[in-house]
Homo-oligomer: 209 residues x 2
């Protein structure tokens, strides 16, 4: 089994922290996204979507979405549970995880890809050129601040994002907060619940993965 | 248990087709999105995100994401399986399901919300006003055509989107194709694999749900 990885990428971090929480070690293969490693012929032959992380199983099956890679490991090693044990837990955690993708990760990607010079003509993931839309970068940053507000409010009523236990929703939210700083969106001093939760998650050894 | 529903909405259709495939009947409560039903005080008290579908369990738990609602029903009634039975199947289906969200559903939403007059100042889901970005509507339509190409190519190598069996990935792809027509993006005559698969899925009784 091999995990194609680029250390700084938020989606790759989501998977690495998930694996660290499970105590699973997987061989990694580096793909340097800052150097166009995802666009080489060799890598496109492996993943035509030009994205990492990607997991390649020993039977050759390739899984090219972070959430799906986590699902695989949750299924082969359910403990410690990060995606819920009962039907209700599974659904509530998945809903929060997805909400963080929609309200945090997607706006962050919009902001970075439509605003950073290094993403000129690469405003959409993949090998097809797409021009940047500066208004979308601005919208992304504005939505990241709403995301912080929402998460701060949620963490005032729940110790972790999806309920009483740490889950994949916390992993993604933590990763998104660091990612948002790339476009200079950071929580404010009023986000006290969010900051306390962030400090608690940062103390977990997995956060360094 | 209650499912808050609006018949034409693609996410609500995804859940209804999923339930029809499982043979599960759930009481539905209509929320008319064309009439602002999602913004009433009553509905905002139930779902501050102002979205449907939303599932309310008998214990009061609310699940506000379509994929998570499907996960709940898959967990309480695994047969017929629509999200995979083995770890590899589960991961592969989830990866395709997510890819269709990213490459089909999201561009379709971008196109509709940033282009249709009825979504003026509602370019982002929820109660906060966001002005439309016409360039993003154009990008959405362009990406929908790339989505058709990708899906047509995939269906030339696999009978169903995620492999040999019908799954939630087919349900979402089918719903997205109908949704794309709202912004006048339709498959071309060259998309023969896609059209053959679409006809096959349309014959399933669940497609009318």
């Amino acid at each position: 089994m091999k995990l194609y990885n680029f250390d700084p990428a938020p989606n790759a971090r989501r998977v690495r922290i998930f694996l660290a929480e499970k105590g699973i070690e997987v061989e990694t293969v580096g793909v340097d996204l800052r150097d166009g490693g995802q666009f080489t012929d060799d890598f496109q032959a492996i993943n035509p979507r030009c994205t990492v992380p990607m997991l390649e199983l020993d039977d050759g099956t390739r899984i090219d979405e972070s959430g799906a890679i986590c699902r695989y490991f949750e299924a082969i090693q359910p403990s410690p549970s990060l995606m819920g044990s009962t039907p209700t837990e599974m659904a509530v955690i998945e809903a929060w995880h997805r909400r963080i993708e929609l309200e945090g990760l997607a706006p962050g990607s919009d902001a970075l890809r439509n605003g950073a010079k290094s993403f000129k003509d690469r405003a959409v993931s993949g090998s097809r050129p797409f021009p940047q839309i500066p208004e979308l970068a601005e919208r992304g940053v504005k939505r990241l601040h709403l995301f912080f507000d929402m998460l701060n409010s949620r963490l005032g009523e729940s110790p972790y994002v999806a309920g009483p236990e740490f889950s994949i929703a916390d992993i993604l939210a933590y990763v998104v907060i660091d990612f948002a700083a790339w476009v200079k969106a950071v929580p404010s001093d009023e986000h006290t619940n969010l900051k306390a939760w962030y400090a608690k998650v940062a103390e977990r050894p997995s956060s360094k993965a």
